[in-house]
């Protein structure tokens, strides 16, 4: 039976519990906060830090809307408990890449190619695209598809998104 939105959130909103103090690097700065034991990294970013670029789509690690860079790798932040973060861990969200030239180029390419419709998947899409271009500046079509295979988009049909990544790679 499909769960309603409010029911899905129940697992996350735990009753009053002891909170845990964590320290980690967020967008290049060492930060400290208090979290409940079962609070996802995604929820923590949105509630404790008001960083709302990272979205919750499915909450099950399938849609990729919550993708961010964890220790340099794309990760589904809905499947990481905030309490497990350590001082050596680095989290980079889309907000942390605001002034990054590559991210700027990607965002412009997404707009120019008309790759954004409703926009909900886009924060995750551009993070995955960013990681790809960081490591493969001239990706093949297969590499683009592979890199974005964990990000679902229900509007665009993907081809414009792929073209946007190609354009961002070309316009260095």
């Amino acid at each position: 039976m499909p769960l309603l939105f409010g029911q899905i959130r129940k697992g996350v909103e735990m009753p009053k519990q002891e909170t845990i103090r964590i320290t980690f690097s967020l967008n290049g700065k060492l930060v400290e906060t208090q979290v409940q034991p079962v609070l996802t990294l995604l929820e923590m970013l949105r509630r404790n830090f008001s960083l709302t670029a990272t979205k919750e789509g499915c909450g099950k690690g399938e849609c990729g809307a919550c993708t961010l860079l964890f220790n340099g790798f794309p990760l589904n932040s809905c499947l990481k408990l905030a309490a497990t973060l350590r001082p050596t861990d680095s989290v980079v969200t889309l907000e942390g890449l605001e002034n990054d030239p590559l991210m700027g180029r990607l965002q412009k390419a997404y707009v120019d190619e008309g790759a954004v419709q409703c926009g909900f998947c886009i924060p995750g899409m551009v993070i995955s695209s960013y990681h790809l271009l960081k490591h493969h500046p001239n990706p093949s079509s297969a590499q683009i598809k592979e890199a974005l295979s964990g990000n679902l988009c229900r509007c665009t049909g993907y081809s414009k998104i792929e073209q946007a990544v190609v354009r961002a790679a070309r316009e260095k």
């Binding site: 697992g11 009753p15 009053k16 519990q17 002891e18 079962v38 690690g61 309490a83 964990g150």
Partner: protein
């Protein structure tokens, strides 16, 4: 309202095992890609504690005398990118890279994939083919179990409460192998049928074979009769007839059921088809030149 759940992030195996032993409702949290989804879907009613084992330094892949030791905390991405794994165990590298999508592979661990005990786990057929030994750390002692004896049913293993898979020991030998899976789509698909075929040189023109099937039985299954036939026939296989005969033995070894993902008859048939494709791939000139198994 459900009971509050606690979380522990121990720094040593001893501490982790102590918490797990003291708290019967504690569950090991590794990559979290299955466990947190189950929790969210309300499938863990007796859960009291998460024990995060990411701080136990179980992520290494290293050589130890005549074995390669793969830490249970190794992620799918780490396995897929390891030169040692690519060189020795191509079927495992291919299994790892077909799990979930990139974001999932960056946190999902091989220990989790094995301990979950799903017959459709994509690293399990390869681990059968590679004669993996499971090294378990428990409250009293360590024990080592052959992978074939580790699973007792769908989602069931010999692991007892308080025990943690520390690592896997694989014989250090260069194997040739492939892993194929059939799913609804390429990424994020749970296998309907999977196969790992692996072999190593055992003499001039001879190869010893291992064949294992996923998602077509209560656990991953070895196809010993087909292995014997392929091993006895020599390499490359003398005829297409022989490979056909072996493919029928592979189909006979499968014990599929109808379920949400696929149908029994289709699954059985596809085990044979995938086996023939696997042998073709192993025998292809491109494979001989490049042991990565990629097209």
């Amino acid at each position: 309202m459900e009971n509050p759940i606690s979380i522990h992030c121990p720094d040593s195996l001893d501490d982790a095992v102590a918490i797990l032993s003291a708290r019967p409702g504690a569950r090991i949290l590794a990559g979290g890609t299955d466990l947190l989804v189950k929790h969210r879907n309300g499938m863990l009613p007796n859960l009291t504690d998460f024990v995060d084992i990411s701080g136990l330094r179980l992520q290494e892949i290293e050589r130890e005398s005549d074995s390669i030791i793969i830490g249970s905390g190794c992620t799918m991405t780490a396995l897929a990118q390891s030169p040692l794994v690519a060189d020795r165990f191509p079927c495992l590298a291919q299994g790892a890279i077909q799990v979930g999508a990139f974001q999932i592979r960056n946190c999902a661990t091989i220990g989790g994939n094995i301990a979950n005990g799903s017959p459709a786990g994509d690293t399990i057929p390869a681990m059968f083919c590679l004669d993996a030994m499971v090294r378990i750390f428990g409250p009293e002692s360590r024990r080592t179990i052959p992978i074939a004896e580790f699973f007792t049913g769908p989602g069931k293993t010999v692991l007892r409460q308080g025990e943690i898979i520390e690592s896997f020991a694989l014989p250090d030998r260069r194997t040739f192998g492939v892993f194929f899976k059939l799913g609804e789509r390429r990424a994020h698909a749970i296998s309907k049928v999977s196969i790992s075929v692996s072999c190593f040189e055992s003499g001039q023109g001879r190869r010893e074979f291992r064949i294992a099937l996923g998602a077509v039985g209560p656990t991953v299954l070895r196809c010993r009769k087909a292995e014997e036939l392929m091993t006895a026939a020599g390499w490359p296989p003398p005829s297409a007839d022989l490979v056909d005969k072996a493919s029928r033995l592979v189909m006979d070894a499968s014990r599929p059921i109808d379920d949400i993902r696929s149908l029994k008859d289709y699954r059985k048939k596809m085990t044979g088809v995938l086996f023939i494709r696997a042998i073709d791939r192993l025998n292809a000139r491109s494979y001989q030149l490049n042991n990565s198994g990629e097209e």
